[in-house]
Amino acid sequence: MSRKFCLYLCLALLPMLGLADDISLPQLLARIRQTGQSQFRYEETRVLELASSPWHGQGFMLSDADGRLVKLQLQPARVIMAIADQSMYYWDPQQNQRHSAALGSAGAAAQQITVFRSLLQGRTEDLQPTYNFAAEKQGKQWLLRMTPKAEFSSDETPTIEISGDEDDQQRRIMIRQADGESTEYRLLKSAETQDSMQRLLQEAKGE
């Protein structure tokens, strides 16, 4: 087999490796990784099987280098969802509903937000056992498509797409559940002053 044939073969298979443009998967994974503290304004659109129309919410997301994440929903009502100390916290003051659970024992309830944290903070190594990754780049836009591996394809594992631009100021995350429900987040880096992460965490924990 000649060296030239091998080269042709590699070129032919290149798109299947997920490189539609000049970005490699490691480069993309490195790009989306958040190493320090960050804050995003977000808009959320959820399509629920039992809802008559998509639901919209918005607020702020705060994350830090320790892996803590706080999702502060301000519209349509104030709700805090957070991950800290390997636990998930939920506080809905309007409904007076407070939940907390260790991530390891909270089942599907914790799965989504754990995946979301991994996405937001770019901790894709957490997701690699479950997902196949494919990276694409078209112009300034990049896209990371994550599909459940065969052994996880039949359960509640969602399909995920995360996309952004070269400036890295905004990001879109699309999570599609196996049952047809979906959640789309549009994130925009923000410098607006919010309550401190610590205070929000305390509020979520009820301290």
Binding site: R46, L48, E49, L50, A51, S52, S53, W55, G57, A77, M81, D85, Q86, S87, M88, Y90, D92, Q94, Q95, Q97, H99, S100, A101, A102, L103, G104, S105, A106, G107, A108, A109, A110, Q112, I113, E156
Partner: protein, 767 residues
């Protein structure tokens, strides 16, 4: 000689040693005892460990710094520990105390199709709140928020079948229990349910070692920032087993050494010691084999206690050897001479042990069989094997100082001593009514104050469901039992509001009677008017939820959710600790938190088939029952011994004289305890029963005086008294309170009986 190794091999092949303490200590001859035994053996609550992980106490500034800088948070540490412990073979389930296990949540979801049949324990009273049309908008909005929450997946599965989420209404109390726990435990409290029974101390020891090993390995990675403490019935079980093992080793060693020393002191012959020990060993093997064949297993405590109790088996060889040594007889002629007395003495001892087996204390049934077989073997070997073995042994019988003098003294001052004895009997008789009976079994338990303190500290991290006290529901069938349980739960709810019980775990809505399901369905059907349905649909529209998928409120399913169906599902596992199998009845238990027993019992008054059950009260009741039975068996034992002595002697005066020393010692010991204020338990009585069976032998030998030499006979009795004191006295070293009680009772009885023999039985003439 050839038979011994064969017997040994057969015993080793057959033997199955039981270490479950429950099998030894708890009787199962009535419904409540069986219940108690079952609870101790396999009760869900008794198989649970309460585990607390908390930050290690800083011992110095450096350590304090390391703790605060611990790289792993308490919650993360506990979460990882849960996953590690779940992998252990002996662990059935482990979960954080503030969260229900996953299978509980899945089980709750399975009740959705039956929502209209089990939404309330008081459907009539709750209907106005649950079916208020004016609140439907708020409820629809609540459903929407629940769908958006982290519990969205769980709520969606239920809402598709139960849009009003009525099935969750019944489980509200369950949720509040875990929320309460969440506030209390701060993340480090775990519940571990073991597979082995609580009192299977061998398996529990293995499990506790595995728990500590998992914790230690994980804690090392976390910089030893945490410490672990455990509580629960299995913790006490292992500690008790350890204490008992130490006692058994100590008692066996000391008893054996003392018997050997006494023997060597008496006969100065290693060769004779060797052969007598062989007779003892063979008797032990026969006892073990017989117990294994009768009970299919032999308890480790039977082996341990039995080994000490059959120390009296040396009495028979000793009598033969004393006569050999003193009269220079051959062993064969001595054993032929003494055989009638030996046989009758052995028989009365067997009667004593037989009576012991009928006292109701299950452990003593085994010991009785063990002793019967051992004594029979020892007698047979003494009669037919020992003489051949002793042929070449040189025996030197020691002269025990004071023995002859005491016999002479009793002879010379008989009138005075008998008058004093008569006065003593009268005084003793008057003091008997003052006797104090021990009413609390707890006083016979081992002193485990340190463990109890640790238990209290660990339990303070948990919501307080008490493992030993609950409400017991009994009925002939499931439907009646569930109706009674529901009536009791309604009453408990009122008692909780009145502050008499802090919390309770009932069976509703896991199991619901057909009657209550029908009542729920009727209330639901009446509430489901067209106007109500319209209001619900309007609420859905306003909340932005799908009317197509959630707008139809279906009528109640026609078939009730049967107990059989529930118990065929994983829910059985959740409720297994609250369902107990009775012979011909259904027995349910409602678990209780902290409560006032008297007010709670009063509060449950009038509820048919419902009563307050206290494990402690039941144990105390058992203690009283054992005591009464042991007193009866003491009387019966003495009567049967008298009968057999009469059958041999055919002389009522001789029978009474034979029994008199042991009966008198019995009276004086009871009187002494009465005067001293000693609390007398069934164990004291059992000890005295044993001492009577031994003392009667003394009377038999002293009256028979087969060697026609009362000094030799009394020397032989003194020798066997010494060996009995050596073997039983060693029991007094045990920490388990039962052992010193037995030691005291038997030693006092035997000593007094021995001393009274020459006083009460006129010195037989030497011919």
């Amino acid at each position: 000689m050839l038979l011994f190794p064969l017997l040994l091999a057969l015993t080793v092949w057959q033997i199955r040693v039981e270490t479950d303490l429950n099998a030894f200590f708890t009787a199962t001859d009535d419904e409540d005892s069986r219940l108690l035994s079952g609870l101790l053996k396999s009760g869900e609550l008794s198989r649970r460990y309460l585990i607390v992980v908390e930050q290690a106490l800083p011992t110095n500034a450096d350590h304090a710094a390391s703790v605060s800088d611990s790289p792993v948070s308490l919650v993360a540490f506990s979460t990882k520990l849960v996953s590690q412990l779940a992998k252990l073979d002996d662990v059935e389930q482990v979960w954080p105390a503030d969260q229900p296990p996953r299978d509980w949540i899945d089980a709750v979801a399975s009740y959705a199709p039956y929502h209209a049949r089990l939404f309330s324990l008081n459907p009539q009273a709750d209907a106005s709140e649950l079916f208020d049309s004016a609140k439907l908008e708020v409820r629809a909005d609540g459903l929407k928020q629940a769908l958006l929450s982290p519990q969205g997946g769980f709520v969606k599965a239920i809402a598709k079948q139960d849009p009003l989420l009525l099935s969750l209404n019944g489980f509200k109390d369950l949720q509040s229990q875990f929320q309460q726990q969440s506030k209390q435990s701060q993340g480090g409290a775990l519940i571990l349910q073991s597979r082995p029974a609580a009192l299977d101390s061998e398996a529990q020891t293995r499990l506790q070692a595995a728990i500590h090993a998992s914790f230690a390995s994980q804690n090392a990675e976390a910089g030893n920032a945490y410490r672990l403490s455990m509580a629960g019935v299995p913790v006490f079980s292992v500690a008790a087993q350890s204490e008992i093992s130490q006692d058994v080793t100590l008692v066996s060693v000391v008893s054996s050494v003392l018997v050997v020393l006494v023997f060597l002191f008496l006969f100065h012959s290693f060769s004779a010691l060797h052969w007598v020990m062989m007779v003892q060993g063979a008797s032990f093997v026969v006892g073990t084999l017989a117990t294994t064949l009768v009970f299919a297993h032999v308890h480790s405590l039977t082996l341990a206690l039995g080994a000490s109790l059959i120390g009296i088996c040396t009495d028979y060889p000793i009598h033969v050897m004393v006569h050999c040594a003193k009269h220079r007889n051959s062993p064969l002629s001595a054993v032929r001479l003494l055989w009638p007395s030996l046989a009758l003495g052995g028989l009365t001892t067997v009667i004593g042990y037989g009576a012991l087996g009928f006292t109701g204390f299950p452990g003593f049934e085994q010991i009785a069989v063990f002793a019967l077989a051992s004594i029979a073997a020892s007698l047979g070997l003494t009669r037919w094997v020992l003489p051949a073995l002793l042929t070449k042994s040189e025996l030197h019988a020691a002269h025990l100082p004071g023995i002859g003098a005491w016999v002479d003294f009793c002879g010379r001052h008989r009138q005075v001593l008998l008058s004093l004895f008569a006065v003593g009997v009268i005084l003793a008789g008057f003091s008997l009514p003052q006797i104090r009976w021990m009413d609390y079994m707890q006083k016979l338990a081992m002193d485990m104050d340190t463990l109890k303190q640790q238990d209290a500290t660990v339990r303070s991290h948990f919501s307080s469901i008490e493992p030993g006290r609950f409400v017991l529901i009994q009925a002939g069938d499931w439907e009646t039992a569930l109706q009674r349980s529901e009536a009791a739960e309604r009453r408990l709810k009122e008692l909780k509001q009145a502050g008499i019980v802090s919390e309770y775990h009932g069976l509703f809505p896991w199991l619901v009677s057909n009657a209550l399901q029908a009542e729920n369905a009727s209330v639901y059907g009446q509430a489901l008017t067209p106007a109500f349905q319209d209001a619900w649909r309007a609420g859905l529209v306003k909340a932005g939820l799908s009317v197509d998928k959630l707008g139809t409120l279906l009528p109640a399913v026609s078939e009730p959710l049967s107990a059989a169906k529930v118990l065929d599902s994983p829910v059985r596992h959740i409720l297994s600790g609250q369902l107990m199998a009775g012979d011909k009845s259904v027995i349910l238990s409602l678990w209780l938190g902290e409560h006032d027993p008297v007010k709670l019992s009063e509060g449950l008054a009038g509820l048919e088939g419902t009563r307050y059950f206290s494990q402690k009260d039941q144990l105390d009741h058992l203690a009283g029952k054992y005591r009464d039975r042991s007193l009866v068996m003491l009387g019966i034992g003495i009567g049967v011994m008298g009968l057999f002595i009469w059958l041999q002697q055919r002389d009522l005066r001789k029978v009474l004289l034979t029994l008199l020393p042991s009966a008198a010692s019995l009276l004086f010991i009871f009187a002494t305890w009465a005067v001293m204020g000693e609390e007398v338990s069934f164990l004291h009585v059992i000890g005295l029963l044993l001492s009577v069976s031994l003392c009667v032998d003394y009377g038999i030998f002293f009256i028979d005086n087969r060697g026609k030499d009362s000094d030799v006979t009394y020397h032989a009795l003194a020798a066997s008294t010494l060996t009995t004191l050596a073997s039983f006295g060693a029991l007094g070293l045990g920490k388990t309170p039962t052992l010193p009680i037995l030691a005291l009772s038997v030693s006092l009885g035997v000593t007094l009986g021995f001393l009274l023999c020459p006083l009460l039985i006129q010195k037989p003439s030497n011919q």
